[in-house]
Amino acid sequence: MSAGKQSLLEVRDLKTRFYTFAGVVNAVDGVSFTVGRGEILGLVGESGGGKSVIGFSILGLIDPPGKVDDGEILFDGTDLRRKSEKELQKIRGKDIAMVFQDPMTSLNPLQTVGEQIDEMLRLHSDLDARARRARCIEMLTDVGISEADKRLNNYPHQFSGGMRQRVVIAIAMIAGPLLIIADEPTTALDVTIQSQILKLMRRQVRERDASMILITHDLAVVSQMADEIVVLYCGKIVEKGPKQDLISKPAHPYTQGLLGSIPKLHGRQERLTQIPGTVPDVRNLPKGCNFRERCPFAQARCAEEEPEQISLGADRSVACHFPLEQELEP
């Protein structure tokens, strides 16, 4: 979080575990970060890195066998973990809204788009039916759907994927949330649609001075959108910092690996670098640094000691014994 801005969400030492038959999975293992007001935070990591679980933990939507075991989730000063289910229901959708990954499955196929947007206003506003309808039309128009008054009566299957995600965004935005958690909002979409949706989301968030947590595996998306970046690996934060700084000077070998796998638009394209190996089994994490086996710079110490977060100046930190220092070429 950049200095001077007020914080909206502060996650402290969050631990979410899944108690499965095969063993306990530390999906989120001691994660701390802060989202400032009006700020977009990018949560980046590979699949299985615990990114989505963070989003659901914030909203209190972790189902058994999962459980938020420890930590604080301070939203606007109060700890969401201490709230009852009833109180959380008033916060979900109204103060913190969510956009899911796949718009093909996140809308109820048997309700009209209008009913599904209207449900938000029925739950979170005192407007009467007419005012609600007007508001729905306005919102739908605002996310770029033409003839919104007619489209309200359509069912999700009458929309394309990109259009459905616009509807989902309309649902998320309509109650005026302070924080939007977007879980891979463009992953299921066509590349051409992706940037449209991202632009739309950024505009919606900025115009309302809302904050957003953008969960993605795609550093390219994050670098377009985010102010701050948090990189996760095996449920732990390996590096965080302001976007520009982190992208131009990655300190963790994993971040560098992720950056190396993004194709560049200009200049001669060399072979994309890939991170060797795969994510270790989360039920059976190695001793020492989780990234060790895939790290080109690993040394003996990495196998023994788990690296702590070390500060690299004002807003930056990294969890690595041997942080990188070289600057990447732009």
Binding site: L59, L61, P64, E85, Q89, K90, I91, R92, G93, K94, A97, M98, F100, Q101, D102, T105, S106, L107, N108, P109, L110, Q111, E119, M120, L123, H124, Y155, H157, V168, I171
Partner: protein, 321 residues
């Protein structure tokens, strides 16, 4: 829609025709009805005369053609036993059966849907496991045994309910209805409950399976992320999405109960059409049996048609073609 209706009507006609052929053939193999009609000491000449009057002296094919042509003239044949038009005989008894079936189905739905939704939403809870174990009783306990136990306990021992009959009826538009009198309700509860048990168990299990499937869908979690209360997530978003198989089974069950409530009607001496069917089979009352089974086929076809219409009301993605 018009094309669809025409198609369904043609289908229906074919089904009814096939049923009539099968039933007619089957009936000709099951004993000679003449001996049910004539007195024990009838002479050969009297028997031959009776056979001629009933039209049984002709070949099966001629009998069938006669039967078919008279149907088109609105004559469905006369009962050998009651000497009344067979259709009229059945229709007189139909309201009693339909009343009992409707009460049974209403009971089944009221009990099974909420329990099924609960068991599907919390599959691991102890209550759900109890519900599911209970539903096994509903499926495996034979209706006649349950009926007799209920009569023994609630009617004979404790005297809470009458053990048989239909009670007072009121005539509305020529139909004798018992649901409009308290006494009628008093009489209908035990047989309807007995009849509903198996259906309750089946619908409960189907609802549970559907809810478990739907529970994994993203839109359920999205609804929760919107701030919808858990119960509304289940009933407003979940239930409708698992309703297609439930409605299908519901339709089949309602047809099945109307057609073959025979056992329950016999145990509770309920004057419905199932009891008439049993009596007619004993007495080889061929016209009644044939008309009865064709009527049953018609009921099934109509119910299935209504179920198809219901599909389109539930799911906008389904269209009738």
């Amino acid at each position: 829609m018009l094309g669809y209706l025409t198609k369904r009507l043609i289908q229906m006609t074919i089904v009814l025709w096939v049923v009539s052929v099968i039933v007619f053939m089957m009936m000709s193999f099951t004993g000679d009805p003449v001996f049910m009609v004539v007195p024990i000491d009838a002479t050969d000449a009297e028997i031959a005369q009776a056979r001629r009057i009933l039209g049984l002296d002709q070949s099966l094919l001629v009998q069938y053609v006669k039967f078919l042509t008279s149907i088109f003239e609105g004559d469905f044949g006369r009962s050998y036993v009651f000497r009344q038009p067979a259709l009229e005989l059945i229709l007189q008894r139909m309201p009693a059966t339909i009343e009992m079936v409707l009460v049974a189905m209403a009971f089944a739905v009221i009990v099974s849907i909420p329990l099924g939704v609960y068991a599907g939403a919390h599959p691991d809870s102890r209550i759900s496991k109890t519900i599911m174990a209970g539903s096994l009783f509903g499926i495996s306990l034979p209706g006649f045994w349950v009926g007799m136990m209920l009569i023994y306990l609630l009617a004979v021992q404790w005297g809470w309910f009458p053990s048989s009959g239909r009670g007072d009826t009121v005539e509305v538009f020529g139909l004798r209805l018992s649901l409009l009198t308290t006494d009628g309700w008093h009489h209908i509860i035990l047989p309807a409950f007995t009849l509903s048990l198996a259906t309750t168990a089946i619908i409960l299990r189907i609802t549970r399976a559907g809810m478990m499937e739907v529970g994994r869908q993203d839109y359920m979690k999205f609804a929760r992320a919107k701030g919808v209360a858990p119960r509304d997530v289940l009933f407003r978003h979940g239930l409708k999405n698992s309703l297609i198989p439930v409605v299908t089974i519901f339709g089949l069950q309602i047809g099945d109960l109307i057609a073959f409530a025979t056992i329950t009607e016999t145990i509770f001496s309920w004057p419905g059409m199932g009891k008439l069917l049993i009596d007619s089979i004993y007495r080889a009352d061929r016209p009644v049996i044939v008309v009865y089974l064709m009527l049953v086929a018609l009921i099934f076809v109509v119910i299935n048609f209504l179920v198809d219409l219901l599909y389109t009301l539930i799911d906008p993605r389904i269209t009738l073609k």
